[in-house]
Symmetry: C2
Subunit: 344 residues, 2 copies
DNA sequence: CTGAAAGCGCTTACAG
DNA sequence: CTGAAAGCGCTTACAG
């Protein structure tokens, strides 16, 4: 493995000059730069990352703390992050924390002990408030996606607006008897979870239009969980005419339950979700779309700009803790329609 | 940030001794070790990874090259890798290559230029043969999951057995008229893709039992894609009594198509997939199970053992290029049953 | 069992 | 525009 010294010698210059030429620093004559570049290419020179890190203190790496990688939301955010990081020639160090209480905290401690990154993004639910505030000690740009939080810069769908839009869509179609179905948040979120915010939005719409008051149902977080819960709800003769689900996964469970019970959608039941997962289209699910990969790209863009302003750690000025809220988009498919005339 | 020197001074020993005490190296008196440990804890000392890397040449990082993170198979493998790497106190550097032709190759080049890792796992389809063989130049343990390949150590479901088991299950139930539906592989795989191997297995079973010969259908890789294709197939009066899908995603598309056409499953149509994705259970899909997270854990275990044997790069001996094949497991649910008596 | 010293491979003031 | 030298913070023979 050739090193800078070899390149310098081959080009007939000093290590200092070789370094400057290769890094693109100003103050190197074009001729010298070309000579060095040529030598480097010839030898197949690759600078040692470790040496550079030690000398500059910069890792060119951004860390990602996530509670999961094998679910749509997290995978999509991660995809966006990886893509954007790559565009900036940065690496992605992945910490798959898993849910808390299942070893997540230990992994977090390991990260704090070991992780050397220039910037950090934590995806919702990977951390609780106490840990999030410890992140500030790191002295690097930190951002959260999936949760508006006062602890750091954050990026997230406007859950309230999403919840309202979903309910309002059904109200506009003529529904007066809706039920809200959400799934549990596995980890205690920082403040209210996105489910909570969507649920509250639903309640506001309910109150605003004087809809029938029904208890909000919370199901286990899986298609199977919402399927079973929906089956019970829909089997009652007194079932609602529409269901507002907190996520597409929950909504899909409802669709499945309706299918098993022989309830036609949307003729006899309207269903709306949030997310627009890839399978939603195939199922004709009306939903509120969000684009987590975009959030991932944006969070990296922010980190890069923060890094550009303060190459070495946080300045004395207050860190940026603003929040970016994404507007939800209603996607109408075939799972929603006006309710049937009252039965009887 | 305290450094080793500070710890040494606080403990009243030399840097050398402090280093040895902290690293757990042999030849340090218990009393000294305790003293140093205490000082380190007191100061909140964290060794600089960059300095350690530079001194030892070890990164304590394993790289992952994957074509995707937001799909079940890849996400699951990644989850297993992250979990196992963490248990070994190693970090995971993620390279989300995306499909080739869409910038994947460029990202690969960047990895080759920059990625400094102790071991590497490439997940199927992220690389073509030529690139895979270049990986050998890295001089680090390399393994592939999802594809048996002569280029490196590899881990993969026994696709042939999976394909056979799926078809044999339906044959045992009495089916004589089956159709095989598979989805495209987005990237040119190293040898035959897993879809190909499953398809060929299906053909062997067909031949063995003298089943009706039907053309194999290939659909775009998405639920929507298989749904549409299945709709066309099932709408024909001459449709098969059972469908062997190359993956659960494809199988789910078939289920959806059957639902839309009013074809009852399993009474009028049997459907079987491969994977056992989380949604399969909710849909009552009979399938051939595989556990990608386990593959991820195993691949890391192998890398760790390879690293333990040859801490610094490959030895002169031939690298291990053996293959681990996982036995498929038939999971019978409610999407398969004996065919109805011949219609008419 | 412990220490002084060299070395890992870069970058960056400081001079010129 | 270029070079000599110090320094980043560890580890590891080599002596003792």
């Amino acid at each position: 493995m050739p090193k800078l010294d070899d390149v310098a010698r081959a080009a007939g210059v000093s290590k200092a000059t070789a370094s400057r030429a290769l890094s693109g620093a100003a103050g190197v004559s074009p001729a010298t730069r070309a000579k060095v570049q040529h030598a480097a290419d010839d030898l197949g020179f690759r600078a040692s990352g470790a040496a550079r890190r030690l000398a500059t203190g910069l890792t060119r790496t951004i860390g990602v703390l996530t509670p999961s990688v094998d679910r749509w939301y997290f995978g999509s955010v991660l995809h966006g992050i990886a893509h954007a990081a790559d565009a900036h020639e940065h690496d992605v160090l992945l910490y798959d924390l898993g849910a808390f209480g299942r070893g997540g905290h230990e992994k977090f401690e390991r990260f704090m002990r070991r992780g050397e990154v220039d910037g950090l993004v934590t995806i919702t639910w990977s951390l609780v408030g106490g840990d999030l505030s410890r992140l500030a000690e790191l002295g690097i740009p930190v951002a959260t996606v999936g949760e508006p939080t006062p602890h750091s810069r954050s990026f997230c769908l406007d859950d309230s607006a999403a919840g309202e839009q979903a309910a309002e869509h059904l109200v506009r179609l003529g529904h007066r008897d809706l039920l809200h179905l959400s799934s549990e948040t596995e980890v205690q979120p920082i403040d209210a979870s996105s489910s909570d915010r969507r649920k509250r939005a639903f309640e506001r719409v309910s109150a605003r239009h004087g809809l029938r008051l029904r208890p909000v149902i919370v199901t286990p977080t899986s298609l199977e969980g919402s399927h079973l819960a929906a089956r019970e709800i829909l089997a009652r003769r007194d079932r609602p005419t529409g269901i507002v689900a907190s996520t597409d996964e929950v909504a899909l469970g409802v669709l499945l339950a309706a299918h098993h019970l022989g309830i036609r959608v949307p003729e006899e039941l309207s269903v709306i979700g949030v997310d627009d997962v890839p399978t939603a289209a195939a199922f004709g699910l009306t939903t509120i779309r969000q684009d987590p990969a975009q959030h991932g790209e944006d969070v990296v863009a922010w980190i890069m700009s923060a890094l550009a302003q303060h190459p070495h750690g946080q300045p004395d000025t207050e860190p940026d803790r603003s929040h970016t809220s994404y507007a939800p988009v209603l996607v109408i498919r075939s799972s929603t329609a006006p309710p049937r005339e009252p039965r009887g």
